[in-house]
């Protein structure tokens, strides 16, 4: 009776486990580059090699490896190039830091120039075509 209940419980649990494994497989496959495509992940590639690599991801996760361990397996075989998003360490940091630096630099430049121009504008003579009388007459 207990064995029957255990079997039933396991059978009910199996679809949930499969769905979780599939979700984790997709998450990892979406972070890995298809080696025979141009900038496409394993998840999005229909190529045979990409599908086989995705199967390897599934097998390793099923065997108990963590997502990070599976990614490291592919890095070891293909190099860091296999990661669609490079790890933010060493020279790769530039990819993450440079856009922020450029954005901040651009913002500061625009702010400084706008302030300079508005100051110049406040003290400047009105252009010769400016009509004082029109301004006075208008409500």
């Amino acid at each position: 009776m207990i064995a029957l209940l255990l079997t039933l419980a396991l059978a009910l649990q199996q679809p949930n486990m499969d769905a979780t494994l599939e979700l984790r497989t997709r998450e990892v496959a979406a972070q890995l580059r298809c080696p025979v495509c141009q900038g496409v992940s394993l998840e999005d590639s229909p190529s045979t090699l990409a599908q086989e690599m995705k199967s390897v991801v599934r097998e390793q996760l099923r065997a108990g490896k963590s997502e990070e361990e599976v990614k490291q397996y592919f890095v070891q075989k293909y190099g860091e190039w296999i990661l669609l998003e490079p790890e933010p360490t060493g020279f790769n940091l530039a990819v993450y830091v440079l856009p922020v630096v450029l954005l901040l630099g651009g913002g500061v430049t625009v702010f400084v120039l706008a302030r300079k121009w508005s100051r110049q504008g406040a003290g400047a003579e009105p252009p010769p075509w400016y009509d004082d009388e029109y301004e006075e007459a208008s409500p």
């Binding site: 080696p35 025979v36 045979t48 090699l49 086989e52 690599m53 199967s55 390897v56 890095v75 070891q76 075989k77 293909y78 190099g79 860091e80 190039w81």
Partner: protein, 181 residues
């Protein structure tokens, strides 16, 4: 003031132009090669013409191993087939072993292709599910991996292999092997 503005403009533009120029010198199709220098991954594959026989990496400890990943649908494999077959023959008996590893193809297609090409001087292995190919970081065919007698990956050729490259690598490995300790 204009010269200051021009100088700062050049200061910003020059590194960007230099970076783009450097990018133009690179081959966009070239792929990084992570395997050379690391221990060759272990494998156990069935021999295509004798499926009951299994070839393992450890069976070839002390020998130079050349693994050529190929397929009958691969056009470039036609160009290197003669080179590989002749080089394998030339190095027979020198502790150099060649194997073809069939990638994403059927044994029947492979046999017809070999017959059409006039034969092959070494055996082929079947990599069902391309697990070995993935373990060796395969990015397509043809690719050739050269493994030292110590089991280290010495070279991985992505694309067609040349006779000069094969001979240089094999001779240098054999020279190290026979050099007095």
């Amino acid at each position: 003031m204009n010269w200051k503005r021009s100088l700062s403009g050049i200061g910003v533009a020059l590194p960007i132009i230099a970076l783009l120029g450097y990018g133009l010198t690179l081959d966009p199709r070239s792929l990084p090669n992570a395997l050379p220098g690391s221990p060759a991954p272990e494998f156990a594959l069935a021999v295509m013409d004798v499926p009951s026989d299994t070839v393992r990496l450890r069976d070839h400890a002390g020998q130079v191993l050349v693994l050529n990943f190929w397929a009958s649908w691969c056009l470039e494999c036609r160009h290197e087939h003669r080179i590989l077959s002749e080089t394998a023959e030339a190095y027979a008996g020198k502790d150099v072993v060649f194997y073809g590893v069939l990638y994403n193809d059927s044994p029947d297609n492979a046999r017809s292709w070999i017959q059409e090409m006039g034969g092959q001087s070494y055996s082929n292995l079947l990599d069902n599910g391309t697990r070995m190919a993935i373990d060796y970081g395969l990015t397509g065919v043809p690719e050739t991996v050269i493994i030292s007698p110590e089991g280290q990956v010495v070279h991985k050729q992505i694309g067609v292999v040349t006779e000069a490259l094969l001979r240089t690598k094999l001779d240098s490995l054999l020279a190290v092997r026979t050099a007095p300790q």
